[in-house]
Point group: C2
Chain length 211, copies 2
């Protein structure tokens, strides 16, 4: 992807860091965060209103690239949802590299376009879908990014976030999320093992439920 010169500079200046679930990664201040590649785990991006209402605005899975060039006007915060491994690059290094590397510019453009598509997709979910459609939508999203098949051919996912975060992602309350999960369970679409682990028995039914 990048040329040898860029790779060398990246290798020189980047640092791998490891963070446990719940740790704040403080993206909003570019100074602290710079840029980071998620190399394993899942990161939650969120915004909060003055009175404390919270909205998750994105989930970043490996190998997504996080961070913003040339300052950001919207104060996002980032938190490790699961145990996370990052490959961090200081802001100045990244900006210098970006200015000198075409590849990197395109990679960054590509990532931001992908994030934009996801954000707009989610706007439809938040603006127009019912509670059960929203819950089906997250499950499908997570299954798409993290799901693996088991012996029966069912899709198994370890949810990176709990019910409260699902609620904040979906614009619902955690009680409503829980109720809709139960509903999908009673319908036989999914089953749940120990709160965090979801087995999807009928992926097409789940897709049908996403609206």
């Amino acid at each position: 992807m990048l040329g040898p010169t860029e790779l060398r500079r990246l290798a020189t200046y980047s640092r791998r860091t490891r963070h446990c679930a719940g740790e704040t990664l403080a993206v909003e201040s570019d100074e602290v965060m710079g840029y980071a590649n998620v190399t394993s785990g899942t990161v939650k991006l969120s915004r909060v209103l003055r009175d404390g209402r919270q909205q998750l605005v994105g989930l970043q899975f490996a190998p997504d690239l996080m961070g913003r060039l040339f300052s950001t006007e919207s104060p996002l915060s980032a938190e490790a949802a699961t145990e996370v491994e990052l490959c961090r690059v200081p802001k100045e290094v990244m900006e210098a590299l970006v200015l000198s590397s075409d590849r990197l510019k395109l990679r960054l453009l590509d990532q931001s376009l992908k994030d934009l598509d996801e954000a707009r997709e989610w706007m439809v979910t938040l603006g127009r879908k019912s509670a059960i459609e929203r819950v089906a939508s997250v499950l499908l999203l997570v299954a798409t990014r993290m799901g693996g098949a088991d012996a029966q051919g069912d899709i198994v996912v370890e949810l990176p976030i709990g019910r409260a975060d699902m609620a904040d992602f979906l614009g619902l309350t955690l009680e409503t999320v829980s109720r809709q999960m139960s509903r999908l369970r009673h319908e036989g679409v999914i089953s749940v093992q120990g709160h965090r682990c979801v087995v999807i028995h009928d992926i097409d039914a789940l897709k049908g439920r996403t609206g």
Copy 2:
């Protein structure tokens, strides 16, 4: 912004077009649309669910740049909200120019980052705000992009979209939008002249109502 070579090529291949309110600009198929600079007027970007539910995912004002590089997975449609003037560039020309021009790459990155910020901002509105906060939020958005001051120092805006579109942008029904507009009117925050024209008397009160 761009060098003389790029400007010449742009001038050669770009075409100015004019569209009346309601006209479909069909962005979803890159072939047809290519890229376009909005030089005057306002464009609505929307997505619809299979059953017809619709969500506006963005408004593009002059001088925003519209369009996507290297294909898009999410089917957006674009429609002229008001009378619109575009400066269109065919997809292949734009892509070739982008590959050869650093300036243009950065301009494109900048636009997509701006769009991303707006989309995420709007996710908070859709996920966590009450009806009146949402209505106050659009009014503020439109006033910020299009508003002008009158003799009394009030801000006057000609709304680019009607109640139905506001509802689709806000994830509400048009009746609810109308009721909240009336509420802001009775509170003396705004007044309305002939459906489309809004006068904002107390911009701070309006900001306070955005949540």
